[in-house]
Symmetry: C2
Subunit: 343 residues, 2 copies
């Protein structure tokens, strides 16, 4: 039995989802993989910070939040460490970087990831910013320090799309990736097909908690573009950035566009795509009127999906949840298992 | 660079597909995985047998078949070995068992697999018979001899459904598997939705080479049942056989059934299912009128798909080719890479 000591930077939805899974499933993981996860530190800018070298009880961590109490209310050895101190002093084996995402600079999360890698900690994260903006650098830094960085949760939450592309389909020769990578826009487009206006569909998505108060990141395709950068850099060997994505969102689509597509047996979907032609790779995010027979045309609502086109196997489509606290928490666990089960 | 010496029992569609991939892609596999595949023996009851310790040229093997010539026409060290001699004398590292399948006894293929495992050869196969009927025994025999047996190609050709269930989703807790596992019946049902009669749709499927002259194995659900047994024994830890599957085929479905489902926004699909409820596992193959919103409802024609229901991640659906010479040949390569890339 190997115990994996974890430090969490961030204790929002994903951090709590990860902690729930550890509380519920640690015995299963021990039986299935010989691995036991122990949270030794949590540092969150709102909920506060706790550290205990003997491990923090996941049920108590969650209990505090449920009561609306700061983490300082639970038993621990140290309180109040900031993120950097937590990374430097916790002696954790792995960092779960689950603080807020920023697609313009990737900071401060990218700095936390760098600090952890330099400390020779493995890193798992669902934070798009650092990976979309700095993956080539972070991947080299991990290699230099003989540690690994897992980021399955940055694309389609726990749906194993990155592992599928990077490991399982590697021998098949992936030459194109097309995906519905943003649940908010897919939900809005599905509702518009039912006759709802763009404004009403957006309001509904905000009501349901899919869309942020400022929906620009979703509806203008920035979120999907970040995921396309990640897919391209990991699976096509590029070193592209956000500016290399030809990007357009869904805000200019009219009810008439939707109706006309329907008459033509087509459905508008916001498609993120990466295509390899010899050494040339092109990447884009744009609304596409897919024929209803296309495997992505029937992916509705908040479900996400990716179709890998391969040299040897034709098209392989993977569909699953695109978001969710448990689903994304699971991505971090799957990354940790992939790292430590091999070692 | 590691050279993997292969012996092929059977040189029909799948054996030829495997050989084509080796001819086309060996340089890629060397670069990507440090593995080089070398065919040292082929034994086929129709095309004859060749053996050469220095390797047989895959292009020449395929060239003979294309010209309709027996394998004895190409340069080799030995000719005419039967399957057993090939397994015992070829000194191959791995056996690709790709002879014809028999879902009643699994023989003679199961005997070849046993002989190879006892010789401490790894085995890869796309042959449903031995795996559906004898997996628990063969799996123990492999473990006793410290070798492995790969059989991705027995379910959905190269679409990585077994690896998905057994490795990638292991931590998520798979509690139900539902799949469209037979391309012939799915093709027939798709055509019946377009108004074609069962008899005409079957004749079309036979024309296109999807269905055998005797279609019983497909249309009565035996082929799908064999795959359900494989999924259940590998992924749910059962030791069930063909008789444990509650099975019914598509022959009793009438045009009226199809029409009524359509009115109800449903589509008939032949669904293979395995469900776990505590320690109890139930397995079945039967036509089900799925609501059109179900992820399997839109899988049309010869495409196959499986939906895994999981404790932590909800539903994950994997869709891809269900058959094909290259697609199934790829399954064997993927199994070999999984075996030797780890070692």
């Amino acid at each position: 039995m190997q115990t994996i000591r974890l430090a969490l930077i961030g204790f929002g939805n994903v951090g709590q989802g990860l902690t729930e899974i550890i509380a519920d499933r640690n015995d299963n993981f021990a039986k299935q993989f010989g691995l036991k996860f122990q949270i030794v530190a949590v540092s969150d800018i709102y909920w506060g910070s706790v550290y205990d070298p003997d491990g923090l009880d996941p049920v108590r961590l969650l209990g505090a939040i449920q009561k609306g109490e700061k983490l300082a209310t639970i038993q621990a050895a140290e309180y109040g460490w900031d993120a950097t101190t937590t990374i430097e002093q916790s002696g954790a084996d792995a960092l779960a970087e689950v603080s807020f995402t920023d697609l313009k600079t990737g900071e401060p999360a990218a700095g936390f990831v760098r600090a952890a890698l330099k400390q020779r900690m493995n890193v798992v994260t669902s934070n798009k910013g650092p990976i979309a903006l700095h993956y080539p650098e972070l991947s080299r830094l991990a290699a230099e320090n003989s540690v690994q960085i897992g980021f399955e949760g940055t694309v389609m939450s726990g749906t194993p799309v990155l592992r599928m592309g990077s490991e399982i389909l590697k021998a098949a020769g992936v030459n194109r990736i097309q995906g519905i990578l943003n649940g908010t826009t897919n939900y809005i487009l599905s509702r518009m097909e039912d006759g709802t206006s763009y404004a009403d569909a957006l309001a509904e998505a905000q009501d349901k908690g899919y869309a942020e108060a400022d929906p620009t990141g979703d509806v203008e395709g920035f979120d999907a573009a970040g995921k396309v950068v990640i897919l391209s850099n990991l699976l096509m060997g590029t070193e592209i950035g956000m500016d290399d994505i030809e990007r357009s969102g869904i805000t200019h689509l009219t009810p008439e566009d939707i109706r006309n597509a329907k008459i033509d047996d087509r459905r508008w979907k916001l498609i993120g795509a990466v295509e390899k032609d010899g050494e040339k790779v092109t990447a884009s995010v744009q609304p596409v009127p897919l024929p209803v027979s296309h495997p992505l045309a029937t992916i509705g609502g908040a479900t996400n999906a990716v179709t890998f086109s391969t040299d040897l196997l034709g098209d392989i489509t993977l569909a699953g949840p695109g978001a969710g606290r448990r689903e994304t928490g699971y991505a971090l666990i799957a990354d940790l298992i992939a790292i430590y089960n091999k070692a």
